[in-house]
């Protein structure tokens, strides 16, 4: 029988709220209270800084961030700084990785695979770059990946640029990489909506992780679900 993975979808949501939710769900997953869950959503403007990151990679002054309505959060995932905001598809799989090969690097490669396959549906050729986790295209990095793991349960995940305002990336050195551009699906003349891409991505996730996706019970965790 196939493993199942619950799907929890949000509209635009503040970063902090979902971060707390993730932490809670990791605990619940570890104690077996919930099944594997894929959270998908879009964030308000936020810069998040991973454990390997530093505020030095923010290139504008604090008051400008404030006037732009951007918050900065230091988080417990791998990687450096990145931007999240409207026009991006963000996914946070809460998975017990012991059931998916118990290999964190393999897990990251699987996430890359999901995104490579998703954008391929829209005719975009994505690839991996040695040592630079994420999904790359000839126009630059189209998806960022950063993962946190506690007791083999994953949190954080990936963000795919569909049509974000690219201006926000220019205010940082994304992932601490200074000389590589960031790309979006719009750069490839793809005009798909977030919901369309999300739907496609779920299909690819189902294949790569060999799971069946079921909607999470509504009202669980007090949130609106798909």
């Amino acid at each position: 029988m196939k493993k199942t993975c619950r799907l929890l979808e949000f509209e635009r949501t503040a970063y902090d709220y979902v971060w707390d939710l993730q932490k809670e769900m990791v605990q619940q997953r570890r104690s077996g209270q919930i099944d594997d869950t894929l959270i998908m959503l879009e964030h308000d403007h936020v810069y998040t800084i991973g454990r390997a990151g530093s505020r030095n990679n923010i290139l504008v002054a604090a008051d400008q961030l404030k006037s732009e309505g951007i918050t900065v959060v230091e988080v417990d995932r791998g990687g450096d700084i990145t931007y999240h905001g409207p026009g991006q598809l963000v996914g946070y799989p809460i998975l017990n990785l012991t059931a998916y090969g118990k290999d964190m690097h393999l897990y990251v490669r699987m996430l890359e695979e999901v995104i490579i396959r998703t954008i391929a549906v829209y005719g975009i050729n994505g690839h991996r770059e040695n040592g630079l986790t994420g999904v790359w295209t000839k126009k630059g990095k189209i998806a960022a990946i950063g993962v946190g793991v506690k007791g083999w349960v994953s949190m954080h995940g990936f963000s795919l640029n569909i049509h974000p305002d690219m201006r926000y990336f220019s205010m940082i050195n994304p992932c601490g990489i200074t000389n590589r551009p960031v790309a979006s699906m719009r750069d490839f003349a793809v005009s798909a909506s977030r919901n369309e891409v999300a739907h496609e991505l779920q299909k690819q996730f189902t294949d790569v992780f060999d799971v069946q996706i079921t909607p999470a019970r509504s009202k669980e965790n007090g949130c609106n679900t798909a």
Binding site: Q27, Q28, R30, S31, G32, Q33, G50, R51, A52, D76, R77, G78, G79, T98, A99, Y100, G101, K102, D103, M104, H105, L106, Y107, V108, R109, M110, E112, E113, R128, N130, T133, G134, I145, G146, V147, G148, V149, K150, G151, W152, V208, D210
Partner: protein, 446 residues
């Protein structure tokens, strides 16, 4: 007895990790499952949790430092035991540890020895228990009360396991964190550990086997090359296979003149591909597996499972080891498709770009050592598959055809099979089937 906490290997390709934040300080009391330190590798952050209850006595690597897999991170001991740090100039370390011990002792709570023992057995932090005696001293009843009131004790990551289960887990190299307990209150018992050891993620051949605690090298041993990364996975998987499956290897020598001619014709007709012998043999093996489903099978949970799909793994040698990318539904692929996919897989394997989907789910493996002038060998089965085919070189030899001695291209095939699943006669028939195809490739169409 002090316990060393080491850099875990969290992935097949992980060779080292970087220290993030220490969650505990030297002198802190730690319980089993307490997060000790965050480590970073690639774009992943993971917490290393304590496998022992005790006092954090020594921290071997500061934040930002890089430590190789199985390198020392910390030492957990009792508050007052003498800590020896192997390898380092241990005088300052020992001094630091002693100082830490002193501070730890000060923080020690008052508790009866029996209460302490119970708390340790149950893997709970005695600091969390409230003492009920006049001077706040903790007695057994307090610990019991704490245990009763604590909601779902596993929720915070502690592992409930019987002492014997723990011992077995250590012997078998099973990570208790990954074992589902079936005892009372989800407690892990011996049977759970044995089950977990017997079923190492059957669908994912690339997954590293559970880690056994590193064997302590004798003090006089020279530092060898550490068994890490792919080498470690190969070591574990090969040992596991040999320990699990009673291997039998049979071999047969085949006149492959017709296949040599067949390959020549195919490559002459399709100038855009150059089909290899491995491609042709893969096709033949896939066709033969369709006829002999018992060879395309695995033992899963004490049951023989015959796989519907025929996914043929092809061993690819690398500078530092080997990988076995899998050609899915090989029986449904044409020679051209097999050729293109195999070339792509081999190239990806060599540039370390194989995706998860390319390594998982094999049902049979082919290993070709012909290009190294090997004739016959005894390949080790790639668990949880039931057989593996070793392909030897093609070499011209005198052969008897129609009672005359002629020069013929000869090849030896070696088939190792798992005698738990397959018997000699079945394996021989399967090998004979491949032999027939090689002697007359057209017969594959029948």
């Amino acid at each position: 007895m002090a316990t060393e906490i080491k850099m875990p290997q969290l992935g097949l390709t992980m060779t080292e990790g970087t220290i993030g934040t220490w969650k505990k300080n030297v002198g802190d009391t730690v319980a089993v499952g307490d997060a000790l330190v965050e480590i970073m590798t690639d774009k992943i952050t993971s917490e290393v949790e304590s496998t022992e209850a005790g006092v954090l006595r020594f921290i071997a690597a500061k934040e930002g430092e890089t430590v190789e897999v199985q390198g020392l991170l910390a030492i957990i001991g009792t508050a007052d035991e003498k800590i020896e740090v192997a390898g380092s100039g241990s005088a300052p370390a020992a001094a630091a540890a002693q100082a830490a011990a002193a501070s730890a002792v000060k923080r020690e709570v008052k508790a009866s020895p029996a209460a302490r023992r119970l708390a340790e057995e149950k893997g709970i932090d005695i600091n969390l228990v409230t003492g009920s005696n006049a001077d706040g001293r903790i007695v057994v009843a307090d610990v019991e009360k704490y245990l009763e009131s604590a909601p779902a004790p596993q929720a915070d990551g502690r592992i409930k396991a019987s002492p014997y289960a723990k011992k077995i887990a250590e012997e078998l190299g099973v990570d208790l964190g990954a074992v589902v307990g079936t005892g009372p209150e989800g407690r892990i018992v011996e049977e759970d550990v044995r089950k977990a050891a017997a079923a190492p993620a059957p669908a994912k051949p690339a997954a590293p086997a559970p880690q056994a605690p590193a064997a302590k090298a004798p003090a006089t041993a020279k530092a060898g090359e550490p068994l890490v990364g792919m080498r470690k996975v190969i070591a574990e998987r090969m040992t596991y296979s040999k320990h699990t499956a009673p291997h039998v290897t049979i071999s047969t020598e085949i006149n492959v003149d017709a296949t040599v001619a067949f390959r020549g014709e195919v490559n002459a007709k399709c100038t855009d591909v150059r089909v290899s012998y491995t491609d042709i043999i893969t096709k033949m093996v896939a066709a033969a597996l369709r006829k002999f489903p018992i060879i395309n099978a695995s033992i899963i949970d004490n049951a023989i499972v015959k796989h519907e799909d025929i996914n043929v793994g092809i061993a690819v040698a690398l500078d530092n080891g080997l990988v076995v990318p899998v050609l899915r539904n090989a029986d449904k692929c044409g020679l051209k498709e097999i050729n293109e996919k195999c070339k792509d897989m081999a190239q990806k394997a060599r540039s370390n770009q194989l995706g998860m989907d390319m390594l998982a789910g094999g049902t049979f493996t082919i290993s070709n050592l012909g290009s190294y002038d090997v004739d016959a060998f005894t390949p080790v089965i790639n668990q949880p598959e039931s057989a593996i085919l070793g392909v030897g070189r093609i070499v011209k030899k005198p052969a008897v055809v129609n009672d005359e001695i002629v020069i013929a291209s000869m090849m030896t095939l070696s088939l190792s099979f798992d005698h738990r699943i397959v018997d000699g006669a079945q394996a021989a028939q399967f090998l004979k089937c491949i032999k027939t195809y090689l002697e007359d490739p057209m017969s594959m169409l029948m």
